[in-house]
Amino acid sequence: SAVISQKPSRDICQRGTSLTIQCQVDSQVTMMFWYRQQPGQSLTLIATANQGSEATYESGFVIDKFPISRPNLTFSTLTVSNMSPEDSSIYLCSACVWPSSYNEQFFGPGTRLTVL
């Protein structure tokens, strides 16, 4: 299993600014993912954070808006750039060990972002 922490847990930001969210895992993991959960909605995958290479983004998400770093096997950051009120969401980090017979993803507690 893996225990994941995220910083900050919540923030209120002004439009036009940027926020970097940190995700720390207590053990080395193969895969890390970033999800967005808009108010009252389900989770949507933003990107897969690849260690040592560029992140792989899902359709509708671009690197300029959501730059991601993954400098090692236990840490990743997601930046929400040039924020607008539409970016107000919960951002969740997850991780899993691959290959694994369990294919379980462990989730962080999320970061609640409000953009004014």
Binding site: M31, S42, L43, N50, L92, N103, Q105
Partner: protein, 118 residues
């Protein structure tokens, strides 16, 4: 692309009773995994139960069990002896089996809010 549909936005159940949440999915894959995650008000996503598509036997975890119908692409969750702590959002999720690590992506359904009443 895979899609996951949860047709019940909200369900309520009396404490100690049983509730069943529905989930259907669409995929052309033959090998995959299905999950039910619970998200209480704390926002922490918790894995409730998983099912491998190649297994015919339905998965069970204590008070939680699934009814997996592969041909019908249906994956319902039954919560027995409901407890107040079961109050949460429940998400059905799909993951295809992949030879690449990037295949471990989860596709989530829209969620079902479960309210357990005392």
């Amino acid at each position: 692309a895979q899609t996951v549909t949860q047709s019940q936005p909200e369900m309520s159940v009396q404490e100690a009773e049983t509730v069943t949440l529905s989930c259907t999915y669409d995929t052309s894959e033959n090998n995959y995994y299905l999950f039910w995650y619970k998200q209480p008000p704390s926002r922490q996503m918790i894995l409730v139960i998983r099912q491998e598509a190649y297994k015919q036997q339905n998965a069970t975890e204590n008070r939680f069990s699934v009814n997996f119908q592969k041909a019908a692409k249906s994956f319902s969750l039954k919560i027995s002896d409901s407890q107040l702590g079961d109050t949460a959002m429940y998400f059905c999720a799909f993951m295809k089996e992949s030879s690449k690590a990037a295949g471990n992506k989860l596709t989530f359904g829209g969620g079902t809010r479960v309210l357990v009443k005392p």
